[in-house]
Amino acid sequence: MAAYPGMSMGEAHRRITEYLNRFSDAVSNQDAASLRFLLSLSSNSPFLLSLADALNIFQDSGRLIKHSDHYSQYSDILFNLFRSLQTYRLGNLFDSYQAFEKSANAFIQEFRNWESAWALEALYALAYEIRVLAERADRDLASNGKSPEKLKAAGSFLMKVFGVLAGKGPKRVGALYVTCQLFKVYFKLGTVHLCRSVIRSIETARIFDFEEFPKRDKVTYMYYTGRLEVFNENFPAADNKLSYALTHCNPRREANIRMILKYLIPVKLSIGILPKDWLLEKYNLVEYRDVVQALRRGDLRLLRRALQEHEDRFLRSGVFLVLEKLELQVYQRLVKKIYIIQKQKDPTKAHQVKLEVIVKALKWLEMDMDVDEVECIMSILIYKNLVKGYFAHKSKVVVLSKQDPFPKLNGKPVNS
């Protein structure tokens, strides 16, 4: 990363001073939007990049900062911010993160003293940058064979910020944004169990009223907490949260909708609700197509094949076990189809299904199961109320109830 060629000392001086003025103006005018722009290192805006070059040329920004009262009061913030920018420009992400964290700490001290919540947007930028810079720093560390530790540090810092916002004043509406940044950190680190404490704070503390938070943050929050419910297979809760996220998500944010659906679909499938094909097409979730098809057709072979084909993807996203469990519903559908066919042939005898017939149907699907195993499956289906009826071992037959032999799930997951 070469410094900007041809920038003179004078030009560098000018650029730095311009930034300093913009910063102090933003603060005195309580202009959060401008301040936010000035803090967004990772945005790679031409303004900030050329400032970084200027800093690398001028090298004595400390003196400039102390030059005027307008900005010398923010010297800790600015000095470290400049350090961060400089090192960022030179590709040294580790040092850049360290410096940024120092700057952010100093910023928080100032933020605490500002009575109103005017600077929240700028604080959000800070929280975002901390996480993104930490991720990049860790990537660098890992590629040099060192232990990545900065994202974890970013997590600690964000908890601190959360603490600053968790009070009675107007600043508290910013807490959910910070929470979501924390979620992203914990999910990335795999330390998902740490989400619990911050969730508890949001949901049970009396200072927070969930409805007061900005919509965008509520959607993100429900998305992550919904995903946690999926991991723990709490389907009704997962359905609530992910559906909330879906209905309140900006319809133009297709990438976000896709992410929500990625988790909502397995949940809905588990409670017996199938998505239409156009939904899968529109949001490019074709990995679920065969799964849905298998459920519709009672095609066990197709389900197994679909799970195998996309195994890596499903394992990574954490929905594999959820999808695997759909097998019981596929069996239910298969038996129902047999019943329907029998009903067409002879309605008086349709409710008696020979186990041999099921064995044969499965054989067509290239599934090798003997009569004993089919009996086992049927007994499970009956036990879990997917089938109403009984089975007679001696006559090797299942006798279905005359009324509603295949109860629908009706939005409830299969009985455990």
Binding site: S147, E233, G318, F320, C376, I380, I382, G389, Y390, S416
Partner: protein, 340 residues
């Protein structure tokens, strides 16, 4: 170190050199739920297991958060038991039956005494002369496990001795932050011991056996957790996850692909699928056909649960006027039929 009086470890099933490293899923100490959830592993207050292992290349660097923000210790004790402790225990007559010289409860030797686990000691108070270095720990572990082959004493007694002394070994390993491949081998051996004990303790009759069993499960879980951390640390330079096992789905996300696709994991996943589905026939059949002895030891409590489920299902859905034939049931549940 003198080896003249020691048993030569006869590597049988307890410390078998079978080709596959034993890898297992984490199991709860109280298997009752059928969903993918696990109870959390409670961190030990006595630090005999790792929480945050450091990579070998990092022995010099120190993390701010790391509980071992202390100098790296290197043990110098050449014996299985530090001399001071040996002498004190001789005086107090605190010698396990395996440590007694010619059965004398007041006499032991450096070949027989093995360092006990001490709950209250912290790193700061442990002099390096009391810490055993890695080679000594390796020999000590092999020596301890060789007792599994003798039938001179009832299993509970053997188990109790090995249980305590291996805990001390883990404590020494942890205090010296040993996290290399050799540590992995040792942990694997210790995990095998606990797994086997799961099975063997079932047939013991003493009245405290359920608490012994519980404590064994506890140590198994701790040792397994550390073992996973060690695998992680030795595998690559990616970030180390303190995975507390909130859910199985979460855990699967982080297991590397080659392991998920390994023969053992595939077996485990298949068994898990049958279990979650309630397919008692396949569960029992596959376990009987494919499980290794160690795998069986771990699956055993679930077999009981599955048999219960099978009975519930058959009783629930079976035609009431034709009772289910006992002989067929015994075949299905793979239980011996005691009636002709």
């Amino acid at each position: 170190m003198e080896k003249s009086h020691r048993h030569h470890p006869n590597h049988s099933s307890s410390s078998s050199s079978s080709s596959t490293h034993f890898r297992s899923q984490k199991f709860r100490s109280n298997p009752t739920t059928k969903d993918g959830k696990f109870t959390k592993n409670n961190n030990p207050n006595a630090r005999e297991d790792f929480v945050k292992p450091r990579r070998p290349s990092q022995q010099a660097q120190q993390h701010v958060d790391d509980s071992s923000n202390l100098p790296v210790l290197l043990g110098t004790c050449p014996f299985m038991c530090p001399v001071a402790e040996r002498v004190q225990r001789e005086r107090l007559r605190d010698l396990a039956v395996f440590e007694r010289l010619d059965g004398n409860p007041r006499k032991t030797s450096s070949d027989l005494a093995v360092k006990k686990f001490c709950r209250t000691i912290s790193i700061r108070d442990m002099p390096t002369s009391d810490l055993r270095p890695l080679p000594v720990l390796e020999d000590t572990l092999d020596y301890l496990l060789s007792f599994l082959d003798s039938s001179e004493h009832p299993f509970e007694v053997v188990h109790d001795f090995i249980f305590d002394r291996t805990r001390s070994i883990r404590q020494d390993l942890s205090m010296q932050n040993i996290d290399n491949e050799k540590a992995i081998y040792m942990y694997e051996k210790m995990v095998r011991f606990h797994v086997m004990s799961l099975h063997k303790l079932r047939s013991c009759t003493n009245e405290n056996i359920s608490s012994v069993h519980y404590l064994n499960m506890e140590q198994l879980t701790k040792a397994l957790t550390t073992l996973f951390n060690l695998y992680d640390a030795n595998r690559s330079s990616e970030s180390i996850n303190e995975n507390e096992g909130e859910s199985l789905s979460l855990w699967f996300r982080q297991v590397p692909i080659p392991i998920i696709k390994s023969k053992e994991m595939c077996f485990a996943r298949r068994i898990l699928r049958f279990f979650r589905m309630g397919n008692y026939k396949r569960f029992l059949l596959t376990t009987a056909a494919e499980a290794s002895f160690l795998q069986y030891c771990i699956i055993e409590p679930y077999i009981i649960e599955v048999r219960e489920l099978a009975l519930s299902c058959i009783n629930n859905g079976g035609y009431k006027l034709h009772p289910y034939p006992l002989t067929h049931l015994s075949k299905l549940l793979m239980m011996k039929c005691l009636w002709p």
